[in-house]
Symmetry: C2
Subunit: 233 residues, 2 copies
DNA sequence: ATAAATTCGAGAGCACTGCTCTTGCTTTGG
DNA sequence: CCAAAGCAAGAGCAGTGCTCTCGAATTTAT
């Protein structure tokens, strides 16, 4: 609806986009802590109070950038999956998606820190972020589901006291997969970002040198942990 | 040396400690972003400029808190290892240490975010933080080394192109262990904090419900990934 | 013990921040 | 055509990190 808008509405969407673009530029340059509403307004040739017509507060601007960042990394993951050769083994597609997420993170460190570092505004993420935030996870789930339906997977081990939780997880976002895959997938998902965060936040300084190879190896280990097996095994 | 100090030096160390304590209190209450030098000074009954006699900038105060936080989480890990029953299987001690780190993180979320969230001051961590930052990793290495010398471990798989890197890692901080353990340990170390960060930063919201059991299960998986085997296997 | 050197706390001040409120101007819809 | 709503601008408030200067206190050297 409303592909043709009045002059005012059109200006509003354009200015909103310009504000987000300039804010993203400052975010990439200096980090979230130094993102200043006044500097954004100054760069856009307007006065700071005018900016509040578009974003009610600095945190709301940051939230908009968070949503965009989730969408960007999610799209990177989805593109990596789409570009993978259809004949590739599931484990190879898993590693390709992980590598794409890492590549995006290395290219956009401050945006990555915004979404997977400490949550800077408030303590709980706004509701608008939950959808975009799950895109990477959905891609990973899809790989395992396809593998399970095609050639089958090696069902991970499951602690007995986690049986109920695993069944809930599987029913909720991995229907059709063995329950034990649920916790394994969630753990691998979190662990993937542990690897990326440690590399990006400097914990691998003087610890990991050949980072590409190390990450590929670790990502392959994650694939194995969710039941994906490499061709030669 | 100099256990007895002049009145001035004694006052200096006391005031420095008081500043750090008050700063830690504000950090715990509101987070690093809202830690204010002026508020700390106000609470201590001094004027803000006086505080610069003790810390040359806000970032230096934060760095001091970072070092303390690394020491605190490292000590928590070391205590958990020391308190574990000596007859415990290595995998059980591994899980106990991981659980201790998680418990500390849940009890001190803002301090955890300070060290394992996005690095807020500058981009590379100050040199003074590298020592304390490695304490948790050293504990984990020690468990695997003890297990290897006692009952032996299941040597992890190793990608061929990571051979050289693995030998360097083993020589540098895991002498005596099979090279393949090096990358596996580093990966497990990073993945452990991925699990904790996701839980703490809200990514597990509506995803993981029984968090204690889930974490224990995932930590046992990490133990297995570095070659520690549970007794009943 | 006295003089010099150093350390310290206080205050004023600068440049900056997020945010609010009021004042006119422009676009919109009846 | 005109009232209503949306909008940019400016002034202003409370707060921030940080610098500089100036007396007072303490340490050190003579």
């Amino acid at each position: 609806m409303s592909t043709v808008q009045g002059a005012r509405a059109r200006a509003r969407t354009e200015i909103t986009a310009a504000i987000k673009d300039e804010a993203r530029k400052q975010l990439a340059a200096e980090g979230a802590a130094k993102l200043s509403l006044r500097a954004v307004a100054r760069e856009l040739g307007m006065v700071s109070s005018a900016l509040y017509r578009y974003f009610p507060s600095r945190d709301d601007l940051l939230t908009a950038l968070i949503v965009d960042a989730y969408d960007a990394v999610g799209e990177a993951a989805e593109r990596a999956l789409a570009q993978a050769a259809p004949a590739d083994a599931p484990a190879e597609r898993w590693v390709a998606v992980c590598a794409a997420v890492r590549t995006w993170a290395l290219a956009h460190p401050h945006e990555y820190a915004l979404i997977y570092g400490s949550p800077v505004p408030g303590y709980t993420a706004p509701e608008a972020t939950v959808g975009p935030a799950s895109r990477v996870g959905l891609v990973l789930i899809g790989i395992v589901r396809d593998a399970h339906q095609a050639r089958g997977i090696a069902v991970p081990r499951l602690a007995p006291q986690l049986r109920g939780e695993a069944e809930r997880m599987a029913a909720e976002f991995a229907p059709g997969l063995p329950p034990a895959v649920g916790p394994a997938l969630v753990a691998a998902w979190a662990q993937l970002f542990g690897l990326i965060s440690f590399e990006l936040f400097g914990q691998f300084h003087r610890v990991v040198e050949e980072r590409d190879a190390f990450f590929a190896h670790a990502a392959a280990g994650l694939a194995a942990s969710v039941g994906l097996v490499l061709p030669g095994e």
